[in-house]
């Protein structure tokens, strides 16, 4: 029996308290006055001795309770000898091989491979082994095989990946394989550099109770210089009608030595266009801003690159930049050339920068197929729509376009079936008496995102003197209501597109909303929402998942081309979810089309650059603590007293026993005092 916190034994001095109380208690006992002790004095001391014996039980209970509690606080554990052999019989061995990109540092990877091969070499004929490659995810390379050659081949084939480190998935996979095994001895070996970033304390990992986990650390002191590109940010600017982008890179020095005159190169399309020098102190980061670069066309590939060092993967950061495209808006108005009713709407749209809105005015009968093909959003501003146009608009929306219908005094809709989210009824006139106001607004909706925070726009300031009574359909969603409860803004989706119906005008005829500060963000929000506008991120991180539908767009038979050159089909029966696993540029293109439709830059997780390691024993203790009997078996790594104590948890039993004795003491003391 050993103690983790022997200093708590000082608390045993507390044992004197009940003894003292018992002595005091004896003096304070009830006094009976008696005429004379003449006879009693002739029977000396026998009574006293008896009474002491009588109270011994209570005293012992109290002493035992205090001693148990003190002992519990001292955290006792049974120091078990480190066994090197766990019984006999065939073994189920799981080799967890960390192949995150930090393993590429120095000679870690050859050492890790050698360690894995050593484990494979130790297998006997009846043993079975699995190889699980661990980075951000766990990949079972070989599952429970007796074929040693196959296992060695898999180890040889394994390469350092671009992923970060997370131990939990690999340990869970190992737990599953060991749990399913019928062999008597269960063993797992974790070969890793034990990076701190790979273990989150809250990861709930549990190996089977009889399993052992052996850590093999290939961690070596990080002495060589190591710098990485931590981040790249892009700032867009327009210069002489040319869109330019200013690239700023953050360079982090995760090595121990200061870096002076480090070359930071900006590559565009694979060619270095600028090189800057910078100094970075150890453990610090420096920011490098390059000269503006003109965005020449869509999917322009760029990289920020550092000279090669001990850890190569984090020396480059790729990005993709495309020129911003304006959202094309077709406004269908009753009087082209005199844009009175659409004045506020078009002016508001013209102010937009990200995105910018390119709006054209069309009379209802002048809307061409070409207009609809290029438009992202069509605004029908208080006009009567014929059935023909209604049908075309429906096709437009089903294809993915957005439609904003403004229901003013002249609005009539005769075609398109159930294209509108609500049926347009009569007019509610508020020119006399109090004007109507907007009441409930769904601030949770994306188009009201700008107003979501407190005091971010007051819709109730606008007065409405007239609006059309809307009756929302079942599948639609009312985004705003007037104070009387009538729907003011209704939305639904048709095909791939969305339709918004606004119950009043957007000029000053029926309301003064256009004069209120909320009007501009309201219009921008509605148009962005209808156009499904989103700024593509400049790059993704390894481990993220691409949305094939969003990537493919309207490409027929889309395929993704990975940086290593393999093709991944994104549609049809062979469609795969595309997980970003490699560093570089992914291309999505049509199977038969020559050019890339879209390009995605993929970068490594920058947190993996931090090479600080944790104590393997701590990880092993955490992974095996919940099972209680699981323990580490490693000649070079004896289980720490903390881990042994945590595994046994004797303090808990002692504390419970102490409390139970306290309970018994209470009962006994009550009985004695009542007797």
């Amino acid at each position: 029996m050993s103690l983790l916190a022997p200093l708590f034994l000082v608390g045993l001095a507390g044992l004197a308290v009940p003894v003292y109380i018992h002595l005091i208690q004896r003096e304070k006992k009830r006094v009976i006055q008696f005429p004379s002790l003449m006879f009693l004095a002739r029977i000396p001391y026998q009574s006293v001795r008896r009474r002491r014996i009588h109270n011994w039980l209570l005293l012992l209970l109290r002493l035992a309770a205090i001693a148990l509690v003190v002992l519990a606080f001292a955290r006792p554990y049974l120091a078990r000898p480190q066994r090197t052999v766990t019984g006999t019989g065939a073994r189920e061995v799981v080799i967890l091989l960390d192949h995150s990109y930090s393993m590429g540092y120095g000679d870690r990877w050859p050492k890790a491979r050698a360690a894995a091969k050593a484990v494979a070499a130790s297998l006997s004929v009846s043993d079975r082994a699995s190889l699980v490659l661990v980075d951000g995810n766990a990949e079972v390379a070989v599952r429970s095989t007796e074929d040693k050659a196959r296992l060695l081949a898999a180890i040889d084939k394994a390469e350092v990946s671009a992923g970060g480190t997370r131990y939990a998935p690999g340990l869970k996979v190992a737990g599953t394989i060991l749990g399913e095994s019928s062999l008597p001895r269960l063993e797992a070996t974790l070969i890793s550099d034990f990076q701190r970033v790979g273990w989150i304390g809250s990861d709930a990992v549990e190996l089977p109770a009889t399993a052992t986990l052996t850590p093999v650390s290939v961690d070596a002191p990080a002495t060589t210089p190591n710098a990485g590109v931590a981040a790249v940010s892009l700032e867009r600017a327009t210069f002489e009608n040319q869109e330019r982008v200013i690239v700023t890179a953050s360079i982090a020095n995760v090595g121990a030595a200061p870096l002076a005159g480090l070359d930071v190169a900006l590559e565009i399309g694979g060619r270095a266009v600028q090189t800057l020098k910078t100094d970075v102190a150890p453990g610090a980061a420096a920011s490098v801003t390059f000269q503006p670069v003109t965005v020449t066309g869509p999917n322009m590939r760029g990289s920020v690159r550092l000279p090669a060092d001990a850890l190569a993967r984090d020396n480059v950061r790729h990005f993709v930049v495309s020129p911003l495209t304006a959202v094309s808006v077709v406004v269908v108005d009753r009087a082209p050339g005199s844009p009175a009713s659409s004045l506020y709407l078009t002016r508001a749209a013209a102010i937009g920068e990200r995105p910018s809105f390119a709006s054209v005015l069309r009379a209802p009968d002048a809307v061409s197929e070409d207009d609809l093909r290029h438009a992202s959003v069509v605004v029908v501003n208080d006009v009567a729509i014929s059935s023909g146009l209604g049908t075309r608009l429906r096709t437009f929306v089903e294809r993915g376009g957005g439609l904003l219908v403004i229901a003013g005094p002249r609005t009539a809709w005769s075609g398109g079936g159930d294209l509108l989210p609500a049926s347009i009824g009569g007019t509610s006139d508020h020119t006399r008496g109090d004007a109507a106001r907007l009441g409930a607004v769904e601030y949770g909706h994306p188009m009201f995102e700008a107003f979501r925070a407190a005091r971010s726009g007051d819709f109730t300031a606008a007065q409405f003197f007239g609006y059309r009574m809307l009756t929302a359909t079942a599948d639609s969603r009312v985004l705003a209501r007037f104070d009387a409860g009538a729907p003011a803004l209704v939305e639904h989706t048709v095909g791939k597109g969305r339709v918004l119906l606004w119950a009043s005008s957007v000029d000053l005829e029926w309301n003064d909303l256009a004069l209120k500060p909320v009007f501009l963000p309201f219009v921008h929000g509605a148009l962005k929402h209808l156009a499904a506008y989103a700024v593509p991120p400049p790059y993704l991180t390894v481990g993220q998942v691409l949305d094939p539908g969003q990537l493919a767009g309207e490409i027929s038979e889309p395929v993704a081309l990975t940086p290593s050159g393999s093709r991944v089909p994104l549609s049809g029966s062979l469609a795969q979810v595309l997980t970003v696993a490699e560093q570089g540029f992914y291309e999505v293109r049509g199977a038969r089309a020559p050019g890339a439709a879209s390009v995605i830059a993929a970068n490594v997780d920058v947190s993996e650059s931090a090479l600080e390691s944790i104590d393997p024993k701590a990880l092993v203790a955490a992974a095996t603590s919940t099972s209680g009997s699981a323990r580490v078996e490693q000649a070079g790594l004896p289980l720490s007293p903390e881990a042994q104590e945590r595994g046994q948890r004797l303090w808990w039993l002692l504390l419970a026993a102490g409390l139970a004795v306290f309970g018994a003491e209470t009962i006994l003391a009550n009985r004695l005092s009542k007797a």
Binding site: K29, R30, V31, Q33, P35, A41, I43, S47, H54
Partner: protein
Amino acid sequence: MDAASPIPGARFVDPSVLARIGNLELVSKSLVDGFINGLHKAPFFGSSVDFAEHRGYVPGDDVRRIDWKVYARTERFYVKEYEADSNMNFSVLLDMSKSMDFGTRGITKFDYARFLTACLTNLVHRQRDRVGLVAFDSDIVEHVPPSAKHMEVVLHTLEKLTPSRPGKLGPPLKKLAEFFGRRGLLVVISDFYEEPDAVAEAIFPLRFRGNDIIVFHVMDPSELDFSFPDASSFEDLESGVQMPIVPEGLRDEYRALVQAHTQALQKRFAANRVDYAVLDTSKPLDFALFSYLNMRERLMRTR
């Protein structure tokens, strides 16, 4: 309250009830009245007015006491003498030491003794004997000399008494032995927490002076059976000394010691023709009176 008694039909009163009455005169009167009514056929009733003898008139005798019928027959003056005229001195020697101030049944030993004294005094006074009282602890505290007129004084003195000091029989009784030179009846009431020899040594001088002595040994029931349940500290009322005691452990031994003590007293008193009775304060007071009169009768017969 009726209680089991050796006298059929007699009405005994619980001492604790008497303790609530408080007024000694009332208590003694009611008890003695009832007692005399119940025992009116007792052979010694009226013994004090029995005719004893005639003697010749001497100058100084009260002329009213001349027996004129004898003078008519004999023409000589004779004076009638009655037994009662030879009045007896009756004194109660009451122990008022601190140890008497103890009681567990609603009445202390001292109150019980006080009632007993009052009743005896009342009874004796009705028999026209002279009554007196001596209260003592380690010394004489109150002394009312025997007198036919001292009944009220005795009762009044009894009212005032409060036990406060440790007691010792020897010194006060030694002084009293000097005082009670004339033959009389002495009643000693005490709890006798002294060695039997010391008790005998204190009392016998009184006896040797020719007094008839009746000894009442007053004990609380708990002193006799030691029925305390809890282990406690016992404090001596007189000395204040404390002693931790588990009663159940030494109850038997204690009882044996008390019994041996009373037997030793009984033996010594009997040897010198001193009447001795142990009175339990839970027993009715009438019972004590009956004991007294029973003894008194025996004394008279043997006189």
